[in-house]
Structure formats: structure tokens, C-alpha cells
């Protein structure tokens, strides 16, 4: 915590010297200390702001980048992710499309084949199923089929997975479906830093990228360092991030579930289980190296996802760990997933259909061969 404060201090001190007109170090210290009580560290931005600023900066840097989708322009974005872009870049570069996913996804792919860099928004990835032929057969496979002569530098982005109360047709997680396809890159940001860095990397990438966001994360604020806010900031594609180090159990999650994993890890720490939380950031390429290195340290694996269990992301991770790190395992690999059901509407049923913190804690204890909170047993 002291280290974080020190970093804060330096950040705020320099910012104050830069523009806030208050020159003394003492004043800067007061400012930094008071800021500490307001937010945990540094500047905070929402995931929405992170995505918006990333797209804005990349459009400014490269005139070939344009945005297309339903309500991205005049409506300012169905979830306000593209707010302000029409005003800034004009209707030639921010295009409102009719409700014709197959048509505009195909159009985006064709434009990318010619050499432009489209960002195609699907209002949710549920609707992308109407266009999925273009993502797979027109975008993913073309570089290969053409012997490397035609690449498709397109980004397909939008909310993925469950929101709240939107029921069966609007709640599916597509990470496993797209993650299976060679030729696609599939990214799954969690926090604001992920959103900025991965979006910029995706836009600059010469291959088709499926960028799976989460509606419930758009409004969440996360602290970011100055470096993250720099226009040159990108994150590497295919590298997971260790959010929290631990020694007893490797917990692998992506997107919204990373937040759940971190909360569960906090709870588990109280009963002496030290959890290492991995934020995948990328479904394809999958960072098997980081995952396996972690499991070889902790000897236990638990995967976490909102999507359906059968043939899911967790299934691939478990298989990979069993193949690569079998002899390091002290417990069976396990998956926590969404329930094997179409998403129900009723709030109590919906709660049962997606993982809860308790589910993670229970499974973690199981991996450590404990039935309950060990503190109670010894009380």
C-alpha cells in the first residue's frame, strides 16, 4: 500500500507541477494523501472510456480505421462505447448500418480485404450469429486459402455473455466458439487497462480479431497508470496477466469472471488458501505457458467462465494442463461454468445459471481437500 501511495505521489506531484499551478512538494503531498482516500490509486477510468479513447486514438492515427455498426453514430453507441466519434470523425468514418448483420459484416470483411481497417460493432455477439459465416469463412480462413496474399485486418467487437435479466437469446458467451477457429484472434478484456491495450493491439493487428467485451463491465471504473493512458500503449496479444500471485491454487478466468475470481481469492486468503488469479486476456492465442507455469507452482487448477461447460474454454485449459503438467497436479482439475441451460429470466433462476463467488470458494476448498472453512473446524 505504501508503494502504491508513493507511486501516486510521484504521479500527482508531476501532474501538479505540470498544470495545476501548485508548485510546492508539500502541497503535492497533501493532494496525494487526500486523493488516496478518494480512490485506491492514480487516475481511474471506466472500461467504456478506455474503449472509447482507444478507438478514438487509433482512428486519429490511421485514416484507414473506421467504425461501423448499429447505432454507433447518431445514437452515440447502444452502450455509448462510440460516444463522440461521429462528431469528431464524421459520417464517412463512423457509419450507422441498417439491422443487417450478414450484410454489414460481409461489407466490413470486403473492405478489410481491400486494405481498410474496419471496426465492426455487433450490438451483442448474439446477433453476430447472423453473420457468423463471414467471421469464419470470409475473414478467418482467407489468408490461408489465398496462400498468404489476402489478409483481413478487421476487428469485430461488442458485448458478449450474460448481462442482467436479458434472458436466453441475449446472454450467450461465444468465447469457446470463436476460440476454436484457426485464423481468428479472440480477445477478452477485463479491466480498463485490458480494454485500452487490447483494443489498440486489435486495431493494429493485420488479422481478424473477435473482441469480446462485457456489458456489465462497461461502467466499472479501474485505476490506470499514466503509461496506460499514453496513445502508444498496447498490450501483447496472446499473453495472460497474473492479477494476484498465490501458492496453493491457480484460478484462471476471463472477462467479468476475473472480478469474481479476485473477490473469491480475497475470501479464500482469510482461511489460508493462497490463490493465484490469472486473467487470460486472450482466448486465442491461449497463453498455455503462463497457465502451466502457474499450475506447476501451485499444483492445483480451477477454471472459471460464464459460458456453457461442454466444450468450453475451461475444457481446453484443463486438457492443456493435464497434457503438459500432469505430474505436477495434486488434485483433479476442475471447471466452474455457467449452468447447462438457456439463460432464464427470473432473477433467482438467473443467479443459479451463472457462477457465484460461493461456487468458486467451494471448488477451491475441494481442490485443497477441505469440506468447509477450516477456521470453523478448529474453533
Amino acid at each position: 500500500m505504501v508503494g502504491a501511495l508513493g507511486k501516486n505521489f510521484a504521479t500527482f506531484a508531476s501532474r501538479l507541477r505540470g498544470g495545476h499551478g501548485c508548485d510546492t512538494a508539500a502541497a503535492a503531498a497533501v493532494w496525494a494523501v487526500s486523493k488516496r482516500f478518494m480512490s485506491s490509486s492514480g487516475e481511474s477510468i471506466t472500461v467504456r472510456e478506455a474503449l472509447n479513447s482507444a478507438i478514438d486514438e487509433e482512428m486519429s492515427a490511421d485514416s484507414k480505421v473506421f467504425v461501423m455498426g448499429e447505432e454507433v453514430g447518431e445514437y452515440q453507441g447502444a452502450y455509448k462505447v462510440t460516444k463522440g466519434l461521429l462528431q469528431k470523425f464524421g459520417p464517412d468514418r463512423v457509419l450507422d448500418t441498417p439491422i443487417t448483420e450478414a450484410g454489414f459484416a460481409g461489407l466490413g470483411v470486403g473492405a478489410a480485404m481491400y486494405g481498410l481497417k474496419p471496426i465492426v460493432e455487433f450490438m451483442t455477439f448474439n446477433f453476430a450469429m447472423q453473420a457468423i459465416d463471414h467471421l469464419i469463412n470470409s475473414a478467418a480462413k482467407t489468408n490461408y486459402m489465398s496462400g498468404g496474399t489476402i489478409n483481413v485486418p478487421i476487428v469485430f467487437r461488442g458485448p458478449n455473455g450474460a448481462a442482467a435479466g436479458v434472458a436466453a437469446q441475449h446472454s450467450q458467451c461465444f468465447a469457446a466458439w470463436y476460440g476454436q477457429v484457426p485464423g481468428l484472434k479472440v480477445l477478452v478484456p477485463y479491466d480498463a487497462e485490458d480494454a485500452r491495450g487490447l483494443m489498440k493491439a486489435a486495431i493494429r493487428d493485420p488479422d481478424p480479431v473477435v473482441f469480446l467485451e462485457n456489458e456489465l463491465l462497461y461502467g466499472e471504473s479501474f485505476p490506470v497508470s499514466k503509461g496506460v493512458l499514453d496513445p502508444s500503449f498496447t498490450l501483447p496479444i496472446g499473453k495472460a496477466k497474473i492479477m494476484r500471485e498465490g501458492n496453493d491454487l491457480t484460478l484462471v478466468a476471463f472477462s467479468k469472471m476475473v472480478g469474481y475470481a479476485l473477490k473469491a481469492a480475497d475470501e479464500l486468503a482469510k482461511e489460508g488458501i493462497s490463490v493465484e488469479v490469472i486473467n487470460l486476456r486472450s482466448i486465442r492465442p491461449l497463453d498455455r505457458e503462463t497457465i502451466n507455469a502457474s499450475v506447476r507452482k501451485t499444483s492445483r487448477l480451477l477454471t472459471l467462465e460464464e459460458g456453457w461447460p461442454q466444450h468450453g474454454v475451461g475444457a481446453e485449459i484443463c486438457a492443456s494442463v493435464v497434457e503438459e503438467s500432469f505430474y505436477y497436479l495434486d488434485a483433479p482439475v476442475e471447471r466452474i461454468c455457467g449452468a447447462d441451460v438457456p439463460m432464464p429470466y427470473a432473477a433467482n433462476l438467473e443467479r443459479l445459471a451463472v457462477p457465484q463467488i460461493d461456487d468458486i470458494i467451494r471448488a477451491a476448498r475441494r481442490a485443497c481437500f477441505r469440506k468447509e472453512d477450516m477456521r470453523q473446524a478448529t474453533a
Binding site: F66, D92, L95, T97, P98, T100, A102, G103, F104, A105, G106, L107, G108, V109, G110, A111, A112, M113, Y114, G115, L116, D133, H134, N137, S138, T142, N143, Y144, M145, S146, G147, G148, T149, I150, N151, P153, P182, G183, K185, D205, P206, D207, P236, I237, G238, P285, R288, E323
Partner: protein
């Protein structure tokens, strides 16, 4: 047939025109005049929400001889592919274009290097028209290294980005929104070109075609939707699949023209007209009334849903190569002997390419894992047995 001509026999060097480079090689001293001739096409255009262009088409001896040569090479190439398939050098799918040559050849006469073409899977001749070689077509069909897609695409996936040819697409109808996207990019980058998005009568009922037409009309994209109506979608005749088989009208608010697709000059005129329209006013539909002699693919004899009389009737009355031959001979632009000589050279060109293609080796095993991505970040890819084959992508 009205004819106005002013020409002289000179040994002028050929200008580029739109003649495929492979064909320029054996130009002959006679009939090379580039002086304009105006010929009337017999079958008038039919317009939908647009005034049809004139039936008088400007051409030249050189252009007509070029049509003849190019179509003849294409015809020989497709017939050779038929034999290759039957002797199992070609596997999987093979959709032949013979009979339809006038469409792609007539189109090229009205296009330039700034224009783009995208088509479906009956693409061998379209690829040739865009500057591809017979060698790379044969090698690709046989899955060899020297194929235009390194042997990794096959019959349906031939591309030539530099030549403005975007495939070669296996999913019926998918190429139409892709074509709208190419046109979008041309407009965005002010490339001063049009895209011809080609599809068949079978694809003409696809929803995504109408989605593409809607967006391209809304956004004034320079795209021309070319329906190659050969009257059969696989084994289903047009009257069994379309409530309205008047495909040039199906664009509704998008104007259309019906064109005799067996007549190179009619095709050229229509495309020239449509290109001017598209660059100013947005999309147009061209329905090419054409015919394929082969079945849908090599697994289709082509005679269970149409009569042999119908096929031979079209060959007799409307064959595109014979039409040009008659034109050239009747207007004394070439003698029967000249044309025979051209045929002989064309046959040789195709045979030489075939022999060379047969010598081309299969791709190296490493090619299994190349070109999955343009940029791979060193990620891994696995063979069937990952403990045996794991590759770090470049």
C-alpha cells in the same frame, strides 16, 4: 448488321487494352488494327429503372481477335480440367465455366486495373481474365506448389489481389456483401474504380445479397452486381427456385439491365455503361443471360435436369467463341486459316502449361501451418497428435 470501318493493314504493336498478358504473346501481323469499328449487337438490352444503352458497340479488330484468343484458351483450359478431374489429378470440387466465357472476357474489355472483381466458385476463367496464368490455375487445381494459392486453396479459392481479383468463394452468396465492401473501400480511398460482385441465379435469392444491395444503394457504393444467369442453380432450374427469375429487376430500387451473356460485345457495352453509372450513382444489377455446357460440377453429368438437345442447341446457336469467329470472318478481319492458327497456338499454350503444372511438386509439409495468420506472435499450433507435432507459428 450495320458496319462502319476504317482500317489499314499495319504491323502496329498491340496496345494493352484489356487483353490478358498471356495472350499477347502470339499476336499475328494481320488483324491487329486498333482502329475503331462499330458493330451492332443483335439482342437488345432490357432495362429496369434505367434507359438501356445503345446496341451499337465500339470495338476493333484487335479487340475481337483478343476476345477469340482469350476465350479459346479458357475453353481449352476448362476441357483439360475435365480430363484432369476424371484422371483424379484434381480432387474435391471442380466447377467448369465453358460456355460462359463471354461474360468474364467481355467484362475485362470495359474494366481496368483499378477495378475489382469478386465471384463465386466457378472462378478459373475469371482468375485468368484478371491476369492469372493457365499454369497457376492447373497447379492450384492439382494442389501443387506453383498454384496461385500455393496449392492450399483449390478450385474455389483462387485470388489475385494485385490484379484486383478477390476470389474464388465457396459459400453461395457470401461474395456479394464482400463485393459491396470492396466498393466501399474504393470509394473511401477515392480509388476511382468499381467492383463487380458476381453471383449466379442460384445465389440470387440469398438474403445477404439484398442486404448488400440495400446498403450499397443507401451509401452510393460503386458496385455492380453481375448475375451470371446460366438458368440452373446446381440441378434446380430458375423457375423452380425463384418466384421472379427476372434477376435484373430483383434489385427493385437498384436499376438493372438484362444482357445477352453469350455476346462479348453486349457484355462489354453493359459493363461500360454500368461502370459509368456506378461511379456516379451507386449500384446497378446486370443479368447476364448465359449457359454452362458442363453440369454444376464434375460430379454432375448435367443431363438429369436438362435435355441434351437443349445443351447442343445452345452450343449450335449461341456459342460465344463461334459468334466471334463468325464476326471476324464475315467482316474479313481474319481468315478461317488465321483463326485455326490461333487455335493451334492456344492449344499448345494450354498443353505446355499443363505439362509444367504436372511437374510442379506438392507443397512442403511445413506449409500446413503457414499463413494461418499474417502475424502470429509465436503462438503454437498442433498437428493431429500434439505430442508429435507442435509448431511455433512464425
Amino acid at each position: 448488321m450495320a458496319l462502319r470501318q476504317a482500317w489499314q493493314k499495319t504491323g502496329k504493336a498491340l496496345n494493352r487494352g484489356a487483353i490478358a498478358p498471356a495472350v499477347i504473346a502470339f499476336a499475328r501481323p494481320l488483324s491487329t488494327s486498333a482502329d475503331p469499328i462499330v458493330l451492332d449487337i443483335p439482342v437488345p438490352f432490357k432495362g429496369h429503372n434505367v434507359e438501356a444503352p445503345s446496341q451499337s458497340v465500339e470495338t476493333s479488330a484487335q479487340e475481337l481477335v483478343g476476345f477469340f484468343k482469350t476465350m479459346f484458351v479458357m475453353r481449352r483450359m476448362e476441357i483439360a480440367a475435365d480430363s484432369l478431374y476424371k484422371s483424379k489429378f484434381i480432387r474435391g470440387f471442380c466447377h467448369l465455366y465453358d460456355g460462359q466465357e463471354a461474360v468474364c472476357v467481355g467484362m475485362e474489355a470495359a474494366l481496368n486495373e483499378r477495378d475489382c472483381i469478386i465471384t463465386a466458385y466457378r472462378d478459373h476463367c475469371t482468375h485468368l481474365g484478371r491476369g492469372g496464368s493457365v499454369l497457376e490455375v492447373f497447379a492450384e487445381l492439382m494442389g501443387r506448389k506453383d498454384g496461385c494459392s500455393l496449392g492450399k486453396g483449390g478450385s474455389m479459392h483462387m485470388y489475385n489481389k494485385k490484379g484486383g481479383f478477390y476470389g474464388g468463394n465457396g459459400i453461395v452468396g457470401a461474395q456479394t456483401p464482400l463485393g459491396a465492401g470492396l466498393a466501399f473501400a474504393q470509394k473511401y480511398l477515392k480509388a476511382d474504380g468499381v467492383t463487380l460482385a458476381m453471383y449466379g441465379d442460384g445465389a440470387a435469392n440469398q438474403g445477404q445479397l439484398f442486404e448488400a444491395m440495400n446498403i450499397s444503394a443507401l451509401w452510393d457504393l460503386p458496385v455492380i452486381y453481375v448475375c451470371e444467369n446460366n438458368h440452373y442453380g446446381m440441378g434446380t432450374a430458375e423457375w423452380r427456385s425463384a418466384k421472379s427469375p427476372e434477376y435484373y429487376k430483383r434489385g427493385d430500387y437498384v436499376p438493372g439491365l438484362k444482357v445477352d451473356g453469350m455476346d462479348c460485345l453486349a457484355v462489354k457495352q453493359a459493363v461500360k455503361f454500368a461502370k459509368e453509372h456506378a461511379l456516379k450513382n451507386g449500384p446497378m444489377v446486370l443479368e447476364m443471360d448465359t449457359y454452362r455446357y458442363h453440369g454444376h460440377s464434375m460430379s454432375d453429368p448435367g443431363s438429369t435436369y436438362r435435355t441434351r438437345d437443349e445443351i447442343s442447341g445452345v452450343r449450335q446457336e449461341r456459342d460465344p467463341i463461334e459468334r466471334i469467329r463468325k464476326l471476324l470472318v464475315t467482316h474479313e478481319l481474319a481468315s478461317v486459316a488465321d483463326l485455326k492458327a490461333i487455335e493451334k497456338e492456344a492449344k499448345k499454350e494450354v498443353e505446355d502449361a499443363l505439362a509444367k503444372a504436372k511437374e510442379s511438386p506438392a507443397p512442403d509439409s511445413e506449409e500446413l501451418f503457414s499463413h494461418i495468420y499474417r502475424k502470429s506472435y509465436g503462438s503454437e499450433a498442433y498437428g493431429a497428435d500434439r505430442k508429435e507435432v507442435t509448431v511455433k507459428l512464425p
